[in-house]
């Protein structure tokens, strides 16, 4: 009897600590909403569609920041997705065995470098390089909306480049895991039908497609919330523009730059409302990505168990 009472107490106390994690997540949502009430009530929906950000006049429209965050993240994804997938394929399918671990470690290292170091490197090394490239852009191209504006070096293009480098390790490490989980029977069947190595890999990718999309979305989640490096190279100018040369602004960057300057309450609440939207967007993106990754892994595990029960222990290990 005593033992079971003791067990219950243990379960409850450790459970209370575990519940704190839940409380924190719910608390973030509540606190951000509470602290942005003034702005939510005053502006309503027009907050998300307004283009004017004028703290002095007390007018706040967040569209340029939302645009900047989405545009920079999507551009970064366009660059990082093929590279991340290529790395995952190389490490899990093509690389000689002795290179696997070191290559995996090196790509993961990209994730360990602090955002502020990326930003510092961005300001002093990447921006001058990008400026030179912008100056070299031929005149006819410059008339396109994509390359419009003076060659400053700082701007959307530089931010997207840095973001792409920063999210590659997140996407590639998950994609690697997904490919590892694809049952080898898939590839063997392809080889048996006379497929080349690349055709067999395509079969494996097709099998893990959902999970790989999940891996890329995980990178998107990272890119959306990335703050310091982007703040330092994007130019911090709230405007909605397609141009890669144009200095723009992101949601995270405006919070980082203006939060301590927010003199009146409405200004502060407007900034926190941007934070609230960022919170909601990243949660949705992360959840969708986890769901995709999880469903692929589960499917792979089930199939292997069906094929041969003996390998079940191997999967668990």
């Amino acid at each position: 009897m005593r033992r079971s009472a003791d067990d219950r107490l243990f379960r409850l106390t450790t459970g209370a600590f575990a519940a704190m994690v839940l409380v924190i997540v719910v608390g973030i949502g509540i606190e951000l909403t509470r602290q942005s009430m003034l702005s939510i009530q005053k502006f309503g929906w027009s907050f998300w569609t307004g283009r004017t950000w004028d703290p002095v006049a007390g007018e706040f429209g967040a569209l340029p920041f939302i645009w900047g965050t989405l545009y920079s993240s999507l551009l970064a994804l366009l660059l990082s997705a093929p590279i991340a997938l290529g790395i995952a394929i190389f490490i899990s399918e093509l690389s000689p065995r002795f290179l696997r671990q070191p290559l995996a470690y090196l790509t993961d290292l990209l994730a360990a470098i602090p955002s502020i170091v990326y930003g510092l490197w961005g300001i002093f090394v990447l921006v001058p390089i990008v400026r030179k490239l912008e100056l070299l852009t031929p005149e006819p191209l410059r008339r396109l909306p994509l390359f419009h504006g003076p060659p400053l070096g700082v701007g959307m293009g530089t931010a997207a480049l840095i973001l792409a480098v920063m999210v590659v390790p997140f996407s590639s490490s998950v994609a690697r895991e997904i490919l590892k989980n694809v049952p080898s029977a898939q590839r063997e069947a392809a080889y048996a039908l006379g497929a080349t190595r690349w055709e067999a890999i395509k079969v494996a990718i097709g099998y893990g497609k959902t999970g790989i999309i999940g891996a890329i979305m995980l990178g998107l989640g990272r890119a959306l919330g990335e703050t310091m490096a982007v703040t330092m190279v994007i130019g911090n100018n709230p405007q909605v523009s397609l141009s890669l040369f144009a200095p723009q602004y992101t949601m995270a960057a405006v919070i980082a730059n203006e939060f301590t300057e927010a003199a009146d309450e409405l200004y502060l609440h407007a900034l926190i409302e941007i934070g609230l939207l960022l919170f909601v967007i990243t949660i949705v993106v992360n959840l969708a990505s986890r769901l995709l990754i999880w469903s692929t892994k589960k499917r792979a595990a089930e199939l292997v168990v069906l094929a041969s029960p003996a390998t079940k222990e191997e999967i668990a290990a």
């Binding site: 450790t14 994690v21 924190i24 602290q35 602090p114 170091v117 980082a256």
Partner: protein, 281 residues
């Protein structure tokens, strides 16, 4: 398609994958090269011991920021380690309960929340009520970022403890808590410490959540109720300043940060590998 053509396509595609690896490792090499080149030459003894000099006066260092970062990490660990570890143990012990999967899910969500948003949350809870930036608020923000990492690594590594150990303890009549605290936790301790190292490496380089919690401080301060300097915020301030000497110091700070993080993550990786070898039957 002819067999020849298919083979060529395969070779080209394989080549492109190798190119992708190079494209990712190139920036890594490029960044590390610059950090070492610019940073190592700017590092000197004064950087570690002296305080920032006023604008225009060359020299000075980040002594206060280095101490500040250590204090912030200490505060973060003080807050995150007990919650994270006990939560991780709970998840490993009751791995199949519905509550555990909800908490695991919450930890994943917390892990994905942008650090700048965590900063706002910490500001609302720890700065706004007292109307003062403080080291405590900064430590709280960093702690929130540490928790999910500690939870997941603790859970994973407690699970690595061979089930025979747990079953043996329970068979001898030990209660659950006794089995956990005298058998399982000691066996998993190196792993748990590793998890803490990994989490420390993650938060040591954080800047965004500190901007409006611990703020910055140009003076020597170890008072946790006051604003405090940190390496990352100092590097940021110097990087966006117009002074060459400050840029030089920003590189030195970045070099130090990268070194700290590299050492922490290499130690953690070696420890995990040893642990896995130890527990392999």
């Amino acid at each position: 398609m002819s067999a020849r053509r298919r083979k060529t396509v395969s070779a080209i595609a394989e080549g492109l994958c190798a190119v992708a690896v190079i494209l990712a490792l190139l920036p890594l090499a490029f960044i590390l090269f610059y950090v070492v080149k610019q940073g190592a030459s700017a590092l000197n003894w004064a950087f570690f011991t002296s305080m920032p000099k006023p604008v225009g006066e060359p020299g000075g260092g980040m002594g206060n920021a280095i101490v500040g970062t250590l204090i912030l990490i200490g505060l973060a660990a003080l807050f995150a380690v007990p919650i994270g570890c006990i939560c991780g143990i709970h998840l490993a012990e009751y791995r199949d309960s519905r509550f555990s999967s909800v908490v695991r899910f919450a930890a994943d969500v917390l892990n994905g929340v942008p650090s700048i948003v965590i900063g706002i949350f910490a500001y609302g809870l720890a700065v706004l009520p007292v109307k003062r930036f403080s080291a405590m608020a900064g430590g709280f923000a960093l702690g929130l970022l540490m928790i999910p990492v500690v939870v997941r690594t603790t859970e994973e590594l407690v699970r690595l403890v061979p089930s025979g150990l747990r079953e043996g303890a329970l068979a001898l009549g030990a209660s659950r808590s006794r089995a956990v605290f005298t058998v399982i936790v000691p066996a998993a301790l190196p792993g748990i410490l590793t998890g803490i190292l990994v989490a420390t490496a993650r938060v040591a380089g954080e800047t965004a959540p500190l901007l409006f919690t611990s703020f910055n401080n140009r003076f020597w301060s170890t008072n946790i109720a006051q604003p405090i300097a940190s390496l990352t915020v100092q590097v940021f301030t110097y990087a966006i300043s117009p002074y060459d000497d400050w840029h030089r110091q920003a590189w030195a700070g970045a070099f130090l940060l990268v070194m700290i993080i590299l050492v922490l993550s290499i130690v953690a990786r070696l420890a995990v590998r040893r642990l896995e070898q130890m527990n392999r039957p």
